[in-house]
Symmetry: C2
């Protein structure tokens, strides 16, 4: 997929941004949250890999860590990117739903 301004934008990325848009969380808490609202179980390798990429891009930022937890919050840029992504997804979902409902039989 090509998304000129945004670079790659994976499932894991927008799930994490969605999770952080209800407030700062550390990795493990995101895992739980994402599993609950999306049914997707992100494995540690996927989750923490995506987290460090998002941090590098400036879409999330770390907060002072508590004990052994490393909490993050979404940045202004991250929220903007998520808003854009959500708008696109909404559009795609609506097209897919319309087309599927017109599919005879299948």
């Amino acid at each position: 997929m090509k998304k000129k301004e945004l670079g790659r934008f994976s499932d894991a990325s927008y799930l994490i941004l969605s999770s952080l848009s209800s407030g700062p969380k550390h990795g493990y808490a995101m895992m739980e949250d994402i599993r609950q609202f999306s049914g997707t179980q992100l494995e540690p390798g996927t989750l923490y890999g995506a987290i460090s990429r998002l941090e590098k891009q400036g879409w999330i930022e770390p907060l002072p860590s508590e004990e052994r937890r490393r909490p993050y919050r979404i940045t202004t840029d991250g929220a903007a990117v998520l808003r854009e992504q959500v708008a696109t997804l909404e559009q795609v979902v609506s097209v897919a739903k319309n087309r599927l409902s017109a599919l005879e039989g299948l």
Copy 2:
């Protein structure tokens, strides 16, 4: 991302299935269609790679080729998988929208 029953399910995959749910198309026509309804320009490597994976999984199937075109149509299985995916995406989009609207300032 893990999706036990479905295996990987990429952006390119559901864009192609969405495209084919308005009727059979060959690769190039999918490219055009997808660009129009999603704003995503799938490059040939991505598109034809995803097509052959979808065929292998039985979610799309080839029709007799016309001239130099290789048209495909979505299968019953493919439609079922897309329906499921769309339902999940709808759920995720709705959560993200709610959370974003509650994000003060950002």
